[in-house]
Subunit: 472 residues, 2 copies
């Protein structure tokens, strides 16, 4: 993995050479160092095939997610950024959060910009594979729900984990390529199209412009981005079945995309109706303009992409509150999107309904069903534990951020956007029109820790901390 | 119940007569009407003893909680307040929320002020009895945990539900009387002492002064209030055992008071340490002054009393975020305090730890223990459902409040303070130095609905809405 990340630096180096930038040695040296470290680790661990118990899987996941960001900081440090800022930018990239401490992106060397996009793209596929392969095995956060499907698939289509990974990777690459071509056709430069396709499909949200997607606001590219961000929030395991095997039925019968679609449309309609009824003078030229802008930004926040096409934090109070709520929602399981995710929301609501029904009829057993199957109480508990842990982390991070001196709205939205890996917060300090550059150093470390926690779906890290874990 | 509420109006009438106020006919007429309605209902339903299935218990609870506020509005309407404001004040009183739409309290007829205090006092004992007797029976929100204790008690000490109710009532009355005497000894007028003891022990928070407890800030009464608010957040079933039966062991072995105490002290220490380290010029004269103020207001918010002794929303950003978080915490189960409550917090955290341990050792069954007993998966699920429903209600109410035109901090803290029955929100509009008087009419209805939902511990209302409920 480390060696791969090192190899991933080479394109950035080549681009900088092509641009006659003086940054190219950075990437070549970092690349060489990383490949050497990676090869060394591989040789060291290569002898014995690792035993793959839950404990080893956890350990490996956590070690990788701590080692990769360290390597990823090297180009930023060489570029002259502080250790804090470099780590923040690398973690924010690899976790696909997309919160940035950099300004003046329009005049930043293209090597660095490409490096940021590549980090997110690698982070994205890493997360998708983790969600499809590792989390169901570890029974984390209710992901065991999706294990049956994978083993279904492994019986019929995908004999081995490496094949699942390879096929998912191909689909990811394919959709990213299509996205880049469409972006270019919509008028983006080749560089912008490639960089943005990488950060769209990973739900990452790093842009090559300070104005984020506002740079392309009201161009066809904004429509394309709305579509591809939505796609990035769909379950990739099912997209793989659909695209590589022509099986549309699992996709059509999955309840997640439906809820995801209607939530995005619903929120946009609420915003537009409220805008038409109340806001005077209007922010939008006409209803359709408003709906387009609302949909772009809601999908961007729900999937956790974090592109902003407009300063939605100035549209009004309900929009602020809705965007804060949307920050938590996330996309579908098995995508690069973040947050609580559709299936957990649906299962939680069904658990509430089932419990209410159970109280009324104590003599009957009321079961929670999801996608036609009975949800085991083990899964139910693991979903509830996830949601609770998620919100507890959010509250603790909010308090810590406020203690570093951030104002309440910034602290709360900063904690929300970090734990959900969304990117922009709310308010003048860290809102969509601003960056995380000027928040206190301590706040940056709180944010990046929270990003890692959110990305690892918590339980991995918490398990590592459990004393029993170490007692063997 | 309705007749009792009518009878409860008589003291207010007498006080107004004594004050030569022209308000006294209001109370006598309202009182007569209520007693008549109550007597009529009693005669109508008196024939058949009601069957006490879960369904009937739910229905009764909800009907009572809708009927009582209607009766309680009569004095406010007669006093000249609008229907919205009267309903808000009555619901806020009976649910012991204590958010008010009235200003100029210092010059308001004492009959109305006493009526507000009596509403909260009645609401408080109603809630305590509901929590001790009805909720465990209905298995709502994990309250079944406390059923074993009640049936323990019923076997040894308290043969029947009426006796539990009577004994709890006596202890409630006793502590309220002591509280009033102590307040008077601390220099309050007799009227203030009685009114404030009623709103302290019910965790209600209505005051007789616009400045709330700020009127008595830095007097001995503030110390007394800190102590009695803390007592109001303790489990009354255990206080009853302690006071009437001298059994201190159940009290000492309950983990709730400990967590409750340390959370309150912990938050205060964080606030004071942060204040000493960062805030310049200081808000407080010296460390002890700061600790005293922080502890008073934190306990006030945690228990949901909602007295404010200082404009803590201006102390700084961390204080705002901590108070917002504290709004959700609540006191112990079986008290008049509100919020998520200590035992649900502790069980949720233990469920997280147990789940993490379970993942590491899939072959072993890891059980959640609370107070030395194994928590059944049914109870666990019901606690998780409660927490989820609580937060979902909070999010929906936040969005609705923001749609009525409230700013984000007011909308979010307004939703939090309503669902938790705390009282004051945050920010200039509804903060501790202000009232709910100037929020939009629609927002008042959203708030009072949320208060009722929070007070009924949700599942009651939710169950009523379940279509299966009606199918029988
Ligand atoms: K993102
Ligand atoms: K209150």
């Amino acid at each position: 993995m480390v060696a791969l990340l090192g190899a991933a630096m080479i394109p950035s180096a080549l681009l900088d050479i092509a641009d006659n930038s003086d940054q190219w040695p950075i990437f070549l040296v970092s690349s060489a160092v990383s490949i050497l470290i990676g090869a060394g680790l591989a040789v060291l661990s290569g002898g014995a095939p690792p035993s793959t118990g839950a404990r080893e899987a956890f350990l490996l996941t956590v070690v990788i997610w701590i080692a990769l960001p360290l390597i990823a900081t090297i180009p930023f440090i060489s570029y002259g950024m502080s250790l804090t800022d470099s780590t923040f930018e690398a973690v924010s990239g690899l976790t696909t959060t997309g919160a940035t401490v950099m300004t003046g992106l329009d005049s930043t060397p293209r090597g660095i910009l490409l490096w940021r996009a590549i980090l997110q793209w690698i982070g994205g596929i890493g997360i998708i594979v983790t969600a499809i392969v590792i989390l169901p095995m570890l029974r984390v956060g209710g992901m065991q729900l999706f294990q049956i499907e994978s083993s279904d698939m492994s019986g019929k289509f995908l004999p081995r984990i490496t094949e699942i990974t390879a096929q998912t990777g191909i689909v990811y690459l394919l959709i990213s390529a299509i996205c880049a071509i469409v972006y270019a056709a919509c008028g983006m430069s080749a560089f912008d199209a490639i960089a943005h396709s990488m950060t769209t499909m990973s739900a990452g949200g790093y842009s090559t412009h300070d104005a984020s997607f506002g740079y392309f606001s009201d161009t066809p590219a904004a429509y394309a981005a709305t579509f591809f961000m939505f796609v990035a929030g769909l379950p990739f395991s099912l997209l793989t079945l659909l695209i590589l095997h022509g099986r549309w039925r699992p996709f059509a019968s999955d309840p997640q995309p439906r809820l995801y679609f209607w939530l995005a449309v619903g929120f946009s309609v609420v915003i537009v109706v409220w805008h038409e009824a109340v806001v005077d003078p209007p922010v939008f030229d006409h209803i359709f303009h408003g709906f387009r802008q609302a949909l772009f930004n809601i999908i961007s926040i729900m999937t956790g992409t974090g592109y902003a096409s407009a300063p939605y934090d100035t549209w009004g109070s309900p929009v602020t509150v809705i965007f804060l709520a949307a920050t938590f929602l996330g996309g579908c399981a098995g995508s690069a999107a973040c947050g609580i995710k559709m299936f957990r929301l649906e299962i939680s609501f069904k658990a509430v309904a089932a419990y209410a029904a159970q109280i009324v009829r104590p003599n009957r057993i009321v079961r929670v069903r999801y996608a036609g199957r009975v949800v085991s109480s083990d899964t139910l508990q693991s979903v509830m534990v996830f949601v609770f842990l998620y919100l507890a982390t959010f509250v603790v991070a909010s308090v810590l951020l406020s203690l570093t001196g951030m104002d309440p709205l910034s602290a709360i939205s900063g904690a929300a956007t970090s734990v959900s890996n969304v990117g922009p917060g709310l308010g003048p300090e860290i809102g969509p029109s601003s960056t995380f550059q000027n928040i206190p150093t301590a706040a940056k470390w709180v944010c990046l820790t929270t990003m890692l926690l959110g990305r690892l779906e918590f339980v991995a890290v918490f398990t590592l901390m459990t004393s029993r874990f170490w007692r063997g």
